[in-house]
Every structure is written in C-alpha cells, then in structure tokens.
Symmetry: C2
Subunit: 403 residues, 2 copies
C-alpha cells in the first residue's frame, strides 16, 4: 500500500484526487500495489466533497504519519509550498509537484534535500502540463547532447495570440475573452508578461544542461506589446507570432536562455500549435528535432502528469531517479545579445532609409498601413547590431525570427 | 563497466556504435558507470572500420561471454534475429532492438523469456525511430486509460504523399524520387503496402491495451492506389491524405486496429507532419490529446533511441521495466467495420445519384475533372453501410476521414 497526501485542494489538487479515483483500478494494476489517498491538506472546508473524510488542516499530521509515502504539493508559490516541501523531504517522504515557480527558484536545494533523505522530488507537471516532456528528455534522449530547447510554454498567451491571428481581436479584447473563458487569471501578469514561460524555461534549461538556472537570469518579454499590425505583417510573409521560451548551450559551455515573442515560419511545427496547447521542440545531436505537443494546463491534464509521477514512485519507491542538477552560478547564463537571427521590424521611417540601414531586407506590406509606417525582415545579426542600425528610429515592434 | 554487443552492423547498428563513441563521455557521466562496446557481430568483413578490432563472426562467443550485459539486435527480420534474441535472453543478457517485425510478431514470448531469465527486452526504437513514444506512453501516461492511438508511422510513405501533395508528382514519380534519395528500398513493398506501419501499430496497441496484437489481425491498406486526383479533391476541402496506423479500445473491451490512408483535416496537428517525419497522437482519458513528433527513421535518430534503452539498462541493470503485455487471442481484435466515420468517395456516377444514395453529402470539385467523375464527403457511417450505398457504382477511391 502506497499512501498519498495532497497539499492544496485547488484545480490541480482536486484533479489529482479525481484521476486517482476514476482510474484507480487500472493504476493499482499497473503498479502491482494499492495507491491510497489518505489525506488532503487544505485550510478551507469542503463539507460536500466526496473526499470530505480525508481533509486535514494541519500539515504536521501528514508530516508525522509514517504511513505517508508520497506528498503531492499543489499549493503553488514559494512560501507555504517551500516550507511543506522541505519538511516532507526531511521526513523522508517523496514529493510530487506541478509548482513551476518553486522548482525554478529552489529546485537545486530541494533536489539535494531529497537525495540526502533518500527520497525523490518529481515535477513532470511543472512544464507542459499533461505533456510528457521532462522525463522523456532526461531518459529517452539521454543518449544525446541536448543543444537547444524551444517551447510554447504558456497556454494563456498562446490562446490570446491565436485569437488575435484568427479572429482579428486586439490584445485587450483577446485577453478579456481568455479571462471570460477561464484561460486567464483576473491578474494576468504572470502569464502575459512571460514570467510563467520564463520559469518553465528555467526548468527545461536546468534539466537539459545540468545546472540550476534562476528566473532572474533569464531575460523575459511578454506579449503585451504585440499588435494586430504585427500579426498582419507576420501573416503576409507566412509567419505566426508565438511566445517562446528558449535555451541553448553556447560553444563556451555557457547557457543562453530567454523568453520573448518570435516570428515562427508557417512550416515549423511550432507555428501550428494553437489555442491553449503547448509544445516543446528539442534538438539533440543524435536524434535531431523532436517535438512534444499537448494540453499545457487544465485540471485533468496536469493531474495526469502528477499521478504519473506518483505511479513512478509507487513502482520503485527507493530508486534514485537522478533527476538532479548542479548548483547555479552567476556567470553560467549569458545574454542573448550574442545570438544572431533575422529580425522583424515595424517602424516609423521611409523604406529608403530602411534600405540604407539594412542592405539585405525583405519588405512587408499590409492593407491599411498609414503613411510613414514600414515593416521588414532583416538578415541575420545580433540585437546590439540591430539596435545600432535603428538608432534614432521610432520603432513600433522589434521581434526575433526563429531560425 | 557495462559491456555491449551489437548484432548486425548495418545502418542502425553502425549508428549505435557512432552514438556510443561520439557521446560516450556524456553518457558515462549520466550513467555513473562506463559503457563499453565490446563486440560487433556481423558475418561481413569491415577491415577499414574504426571498430575493426571488435568484430566477431560467431554469436556463440558473445553468448558465452559473462561480461556481456546488453545485446543490441539490429539485424532485422524474424529469422537470425529471433534465434539470437532468444539465446541472448536465455543467457540472461538484456536485449535492445529497433526490430519492429520481431517485436510485433514475437513480442509476447520474448518479453516472457526476458522475465523468466531476470533480464529485459527493450524496443523504444521500433516505433517512431528517434521519437520518444513507447516509454512516455507506458510511464508518463500510466495514469490514463489510453483510449486511442493514431500515428503517421512510416517515413517513406509520408515522404511520397508529401511530394504528391506539394509537388504534384504521381505516386510512381514520388516513389522513384524517394528511392533516389535513399528514403525507399528498391523493393518498397513493406513500406508502400503498409506492412511496416502495421507492425508499429501492433506494438503501440499491445503497449496501450496490454495484449499481443499480431500483424495478421490488423487489416492493412497501403498508398499505392492514392492518386493525384484524390490529393486534389482532399486539398479542395482543406484535408491532407496521410497513411495512418490506428488502434482503439472498444466498449466491449476489444481492440480495433487497422492501417489505411485517411483524409486528415488541415487543423489536426497530424496534417502538418511532412516528409520523412513521423508523429504519434495518443488520447488518454485524463490528459486528452498529446502528440509526439520527430524523425521516424534514419541512422542516428534510430540509434538515439537504441542507446537511450542501453542507458536505461545501465543505470539500473536489474530493475524489471514491466513493459510486458499479455498473450494474444483470436477474438481480441475486431474489424474496423463497426467504426463509423465520414468517408471520401471518388466515383463514376452522377451527382444526382450520389445525392440519392447519400442524403447528407459534401460535394468536392477539382479543375480538369472528366465528365462523369464525382467526389464527395459523406456523413458518418460504417464501411459496410457505405459499400451498400455504393453497390453497382464504379468507385475510384474510398478513404476514411479522420474524425
């Protein structure tokens, strides 16, 4: 018998209880043992819940119960979640989580703590929701040197961009619609300003390259400034605008990681990822390009990944999963300033002046463009070189083009 | 030290040696032990190979060497490969393979044999080449009841269909081009008639539903009869023609599995899978739809998956991977005759007669269609019902539409 305690009965936590119940017989058969949900820790009351007998307000009860093998942390954030995770690991209980903020910020220390106490800290659900991606990258691509990871990592922003592209809604209109449909929070900052995608980029980078990458080391730009004009220009040349989290290893063994909206060519499989779906493309030196696609959020998809981690633990409770990484370092992460790419520019200038500044450019057109507005794709160059050529120019949008 | 022997130094076998060499330092670090390639068994001579000192013509030497932990079978087919795999497993050596024919035909008995002898039989590379799909399905989706698997499983046929769609080549022209580019064998039967996709469908079905499914139980149709006319009609209504391997669980607990060309709607992510790429879409009752995409064949991609299996074994040599399934049964697999779907029909008949036979139809048009040719999409019905309505009609093509 494997006993599980869920901490936090919100969307994901209640989804975990539901999956453990609905698929319980199947799961027990696959594990060859019974998985029992023993506690749900939440300070709120749920008198009508079918799980009402399992609720417990005091985490100390779970912490002190030697029967509890696995703690599911679906509280979120870095306060109580950090405290309870630390205490659970110190008590020798493995912890499974969907909390990307905690993993991105305290992953190294929590993985070390798990190792010291002979238990595991697993977080498949923290990136890509229900999409299997972290374990496949660590295990199925273990024969590869991972060279680059590129992901559509946030469903809210991908929904907003999809609606702008397909329905011609403005950013504000699309955000309102996303909020009305429950795809965006009332305070949408973490999503639309790219912080959520940034955290997931940190986790992917840490697993791909073996060292902790902190969110504050990753330059992050959201989608607030993407306009319908940009969407129209991108469309005119066969591109879609997507918010990407990217990380890659440099030739010097450093890591370049950043989050920003990009122009993605129509034939790239990432361009076809619509609505709230996510996708993560990984380039390995043996396999080439692979991509993992699916629902990046949502109650049951996220619970699917959490419960898969529970099953993994239940099958071999004492096996060291070795999904650890080394400590971070201030000089590990380098700025994307050194990364050359083509660029999309929308600006107030004449095409003559643009051509003088960028010999090699591809002019773009849209119907209804006001006099004085130009837009074009440049040749490959770094961002500092681009900014220098645009000195004294009033730019509307400057976006990187994914190679 | 983990000692490996490769059986068969063809495309995949030599790729395995190359990946073990190129990424050796990284792999040893990930494993925490040294993986050594000790033998390459092949009846041919390779006097100029950098591995020339490792060649061995007699498998008995490998079989009798207690140092050999892992045998890589990249011979292919069901003769020598079956004999050597059986002998290796009986000697307690785990076997890793990319041989879909052997797994689809003898998977159950070989998995049983591995279990009896305390070793493992792993075959991630047998489906989807370098794409991580079997282990993610078994592990990361273990919390789900898998309801349906749909895959573009053969790179050769996908290349041919892509060239027909994009360049307007006929099937024969596209096949010749594929052969010239090394994407198709001189005898292309296994690919173009769907046998290769059928074997992979069997393996996916066995893992998804837990029982051996034999190739002869899976109705299989290739792409030889797909014409440019069909491609044009499909394009006119926003569909692509793709060869799909499909399997699903029926409400009665049976398995419906088949391989056939389908019309796939443009917005389905499978429609965007082009050239020699493969993709496998899985529907689970918790996660919903996920898709795995990447190179479905090729020397290094396939070797990537083989070596990942070796690494998995090297990390925990004695762990039971539990990727077993139960025995097959004659009454386990049901015909797709019971499966309703929309259909694409191209036939010699009048549109009036078509409308009389199918009240609910969507007529299709193409430029240059000869008098008397009609094409249309039907409403949802089973194939027997469709055939009955088409009695006495001279049909050119009848293809299922993927829902």
């Amino acid at each position: 018998m494997i006993n599980v305690a869920i901490l936090g009965f919100g969307t994901v936590g209640s989804g975990v209880a539901e999956v453990l119940t609905t698929n319980g017989a199947l799961i027990d058969q696959r594990v060859g043992d019974k998985i029992r949900l023993k506690y749900i820790v939440d300070i709120r009351d749920f008198p009508d819940s079918p799980y009402r007998d399992l609720f417990e307000k005091d985490f100390s009860v779970v912490e002190a119960d030697p029967e509890v093998d696995v703690v599911v942390e679906t509280i979120g954030g870095c306060k109580i979640a950090l405290e309870f995770t630390t205490r659970a690991l110190k008590a020798g209980k493995s912890v499974v989580t969907s909390n990307k903020e905690l993993v991105a910020t305290h992953g190294y220390e929590l993985l070390q703590l798990a190792k010291e106490h002979g238990c595991n800290y697993l977080f498949e659900a923290s990136v890509g929701g229900g999409i299997p991606v972290l374990r496949p990258m660590s295990n199925c691509l273990a024969s590869n040197q991972i060279e680059e990871v590129t992901g559509i990592l946030n469903g809210t922003t991908n929904y907003i961009l999809t609606r702008m592209i397909q329905a011609g809604l403005s950013f504000d209109q699309a955000l309102k619609e996303a909020q009305a449909n429950g795809y965006a929070e009332q305070d949408p900052t973490a999503d639309v300003d790219g912080h959520d995608a940034c955290r997931k980029t940190c986790i992917l980078a840490a697993l791909a390259f073996g060292q902790q990458i902190y969110p504050e080391q990753v330059p992050t730009q959201g989608i607030r400034n993407v306009t319908l004009e940009d969407v129209a220009y991108a469309d005119s040349c066969g591109y879609k605008i997507k918010l990407l989290g990217r990380c890659m290893q440099t030739q010097e063994g450093k890591v370049c990681a950043f989050t920003a909206p990009h122009l993605v060519e129509g034939k790239n499989p990432l361009a076809g990822v619509e609505d709230v779906f996510n996708a993560i493309a990984i380039h390995g030196n043996a396999v080439g390009d692979v991509m993992f696609y699916g629902p990046g959020a949502g109650k049951l998809p996220t619970a699917s990944a959490v419960v898969a981690d529970i099953i993994d633990l239940a099958k071999d409770p004492n096996r060291d999963r070795r999904n650890a990484w080394g400590p971070g370092a201030a000089d590990l992460v380098v700025s994307p300033d050194g990364l050359t790419s083509r660029w999309y520019v929308r600006a107030q200038m004449s095409m003559e002046r643009a051509r003088a500044a960028f010999q090699d450019l591809q002019p773009l057109a849209r119907s209804g463009a006001p006099v004085g507005e130009v837009a074009f794709l440049t040749g490959a160059m770094t961002e500092p070189e681009l900014r220098q050529r645009l000195q004294d120019v009033k730019t509307g949008s400057v976006l990187r083009v994914l190679a």
